[in-house]
Point group: C2
Chain length 234, copies 2
Amino acid sequence: MMKSIDVCLSPDLMHLYDVRESTVVVVDVLRATSCMVTAFAHGTQSITPYSDLEECKAARSKGFITSGERDGKKADGFDKGNSPFEYMGEDIRDKKIAFTTTNGTEAIHRARAAKKLVVGSFLNLSAVVSELLSGESGVLVVCAGWKGRFNLEDTLFAGAVVERLKDHFEPECDAPLAAQRLYNLARHDMLQFLSNSAHVRRLARLNIHKDIAFCLTEDRYSVVPSLASGVLTA
Amino acid sequence: MMKSIDVCLSPDLMHLYDVRESTVVVVDVLRATSCMVTAFAHGTQSITPYSDLEECKAARSKGFITSGERDGKKADGFDKGNSPFEYMGEDIRDKKIAFTTTNGTEAIHRARAAKKLVVGSFLNLSAVVSELLSGESGVLVVCAGWKGRFNLEDTLFAGAVVERLKDHFEPECDAPLAAQRLYNLARHDMLQFLSNSAHVRRLARLNIHKDIAFCLTEDRYSVVPSLASGVLTA
């Protein structure tokens, strides 16, 4: 029997899915999971996702580098924000990071009951796909969205996973089919396809075109961060 | 300033939207809102949507025709089920119908705080679009989905509305953009596009191909049912 693949288009729909027997891929393309993958590719030891801003900030006293983003901007009092270019230097090598973002860390929190939880982004797409192919479980891709709402970029990532796995995994309902259709429509120029999307326009106002282009690059890294006891490691 | 248009992809995301100043279009293409539109086009006086099956059934004692569907099938003890072909005869003319379905009537219930609530389907697409164009309010299309999940056919209808209104309404976030893209991909052969969708496969097992083809027909009727005090009239 073929394994199944499903897509949860918003963390606010997580109550519809029983993930205890599934491998969950959490994705927040712009930019939380892209940052996390970049950090691990540059030698970060661990990332602990926090839902609460203050709790995350307080982790500094326990030796963590603190990363905080709210509404697309670096949050006050944090060491780092939510740009992947902040996670490429020697300063994060072998360090522990405490991470909180508007959508991505909350999505990880809601999916934490998964049999296995991995972090996906276009940057490590092929590595994630290989991991899913080698596993025994069904797959649920959880899109972080924007404050509970559907977003295009995370859906495109979900569609890319469905497309790459189509000979081995069967779509569970309509969400994976829609994601796959959208990805196949967008894949040859995702930046153009996303140019009128809400979050891309939001980020463009913050002058981070470079981040967006970077986050849409497929297969730059081969790490697959996964969660155990509330902590991500590569 | 352009009016805004948004799409709620599942009734389980209704908490994200404040509809008190909006015109809401509730759609359940397969088949609740297609049945309702068909019934009004054939002279039904009113339709009262019920969330609760037993409450709906009990309305018979107050002179209602009762219509009940659960999981795609006619529910026990009801006069009618959820096929549009049941709502074309003289037996429903000038009658009041009490209606409950798995998804459609629940979506109406959750959107009932709207400034104005109308019922849409491909069957009355142009009539709905004209109504929205003539109104002053922003628009939210609420897709009934399947038990809280995203479905393709309701999303295609939402996309059709966005496409038809694109010169007059601005998309509020990514959901209307995705719906519009999918509709433009599907519009020339919706039946084919939907052939591997979950609900179409579910209904195909119930042998209602004729219903599906009918429900995907654009502009057969010109009625626009709307809700006032919990009751739909044309």
